[in-house]
């Protein structure tokens, strides 16, 4: 059966892909991690300024498809001002959404990120949406460096 392509490319996603928010290098960032999908060439760099366990500021740069760009853009919007523990909880809700464990997009921390609920119907595109999040995860937990989807 044909699923409606608009379930994937919702207006919010198209909007964020065309006009990504927080799309710039970040002055005074104290964490920076690059993410890369070698299969499609998507590249992303996430900058974080973390102060007292809170995401004081966040931005990104890179090139990718609409799904990965919108995902990164919405990621920065949803995490700005959140505590690291809270950011981790958002990551977990998003991961559940994309792996089909939360088909209705009811994760308490999702908010606007629920627009990505259509992605799990497109298995080849799940990595596009998760790349920024895995990159973020590495920035929060690791010591920086590079993240690859493969």
């Amino acid at each position: 059966m044909s699923t409606d392509i608009r379930d994937l490319y919702q207006q919010v996603i198209v909007d964020h892909s065309k006009r990504p928010r927080n799309f710039r290098p970040l002055e005074g960032a104290n964490r920076k991690v690059e993410g890369f999908n070698p299969l499609c060439g998507d590249k992303i760099t996430i900058y974080l300024k973390i102060e007292n366990g809170v995401v004081a500021d966040i931005s990104f740069e890179g090139s990718g498809c609409a799904i990965s760009t919108a995902s990164a853009s919405l990621l920065t919007e949803s995490l700005k001002g959140k505590s690291l523990a809270n950011a981790e909880a958002v990551f977990e809700d998003f991961h559940r959404l994309l792996t089909g464990l939360d088909p209705a997009g009811e994760g308490p921390k999702l908010g606007k990120l629920a627009v990505f609920s259509g992605v799990c119907d497109y298995p080849t595109r799940v990595k596009c949406a998760t790349l920024p999040w895995h990159t973020l995860h590495a920035a929060l937990t690791g010591d920086g460096g590079k993240v690859s989807t493969e």
Binding site: M1, S2, T3, I5, R6, L8, Y9, V14, K18, L39, C40, G41, K43, S63, G64, C65, A66, I67, T69, Y122, T124, R125, C128
Partner: protein, 414 residues
Amino acid sequence: MSAGAETAAGLDVWRIREDFPALRQTVHGHPLVYLDNAATSQKPRAVLDAIMRFYERDCANVHRGVHQLSERSTAAYEGARETARQFLNAAAPAEIVFTRGATESINLVAQTYGRANLRAGDEILISGLEHHSNIVPWQLLAAEKGAILRVAPIDDRGEIVLEEYRKLLGPRTRIVALAQVSNALGTINPVKEMIAQAHAAGAVALIDGAQAAPHMPVDVRDLDCDFYAFSGHKVFGPTGIGVLYGKASLLDAMPPWQGGGDMIRSVTFERTTFNDPPYKFEAGTPHIAGAIGLAAAIDYVTAIGLDRVAAWEHELLVYGTEALERVPGLRLIGTARRKAAVLSFVLEGVHPHDVATILDQQGIAIRAGHHCAQPVMERFGLTATSRASLAFYNTHGEIDALVEGLGKVREIFE
């Protein structure tokens, strides 16, 4: 588009399509429009039948048994070699080595001819439009030998700059390796002339024919190439089988590559003597069913006629080029004067992967990405393109479907 118009090149495309079971399906509720032939082609019933017949009736190892089935499978396997010889117009079946595909064919040459003949400071010359499979084996060889990899640049149309190519040929050039047709751009290179120039410089010439063999007649003796590589699965045959053509004098002098059964004449723990080509390069049980399937595919396309295939695909290319040029915001990448039916493009403001996903939802299969030719993408300042690549079973109507599908892409992203 009437059925009559589809036969302008003397090719009954509707009749032909019936030979391909995979073309008769719907994808996401739409009839499949398969435009990813440069990645792999669909298989005619004759190929599937030949493989099935081998496994149902003739399955035995080759060159070994004295029993009936082994005789049959050996005859079929060696018959496939003869079919491949005729397909390329090679002088002798011993010049046809079965491999896993074009990639393995190129690696074989790099690892045998290359390792035996290259010294530090020697040069390998390729072009800027090569597939990774005609870059990386030479990089590995160059790194091992201290040799230098040189690259003839391409221009904005995607054509090799022949003047630069000539300048790069020098007294240290030992190997020239060129695609006959670019997979990412469709450029048809003037390889006959380039091979003659390579020979004049004292180099041997390998031609990567992966994208040429399915679309035009190939004559290795007319080209005078030293090596020619192609993949079975792109010429409507099975995956996992391919051909390396090599001139007999070169194959004779080359050391073996992989060791094992079938490639030897006698083995003791002190000393092994090797079999003659092509067996010297076919260690272990070969892909017998693959070779038989490939021969069936060659018979199939030869019966249609590669001249007619080329004419039909050219007609589709001209039609498709004009149709895509009318799509607002679309830019064709690769506009060589001599082109195979490859339509690589970018759509302003839309990433190729989004183009491909939205087209897929309409049953249209194209490729999006770097096409294993990242240096080509870099040359055009891109990370990816969308690519529609045609075969003789494609129709004008399918190009119309592509154009219509791109309208839907634009609608979503407007």
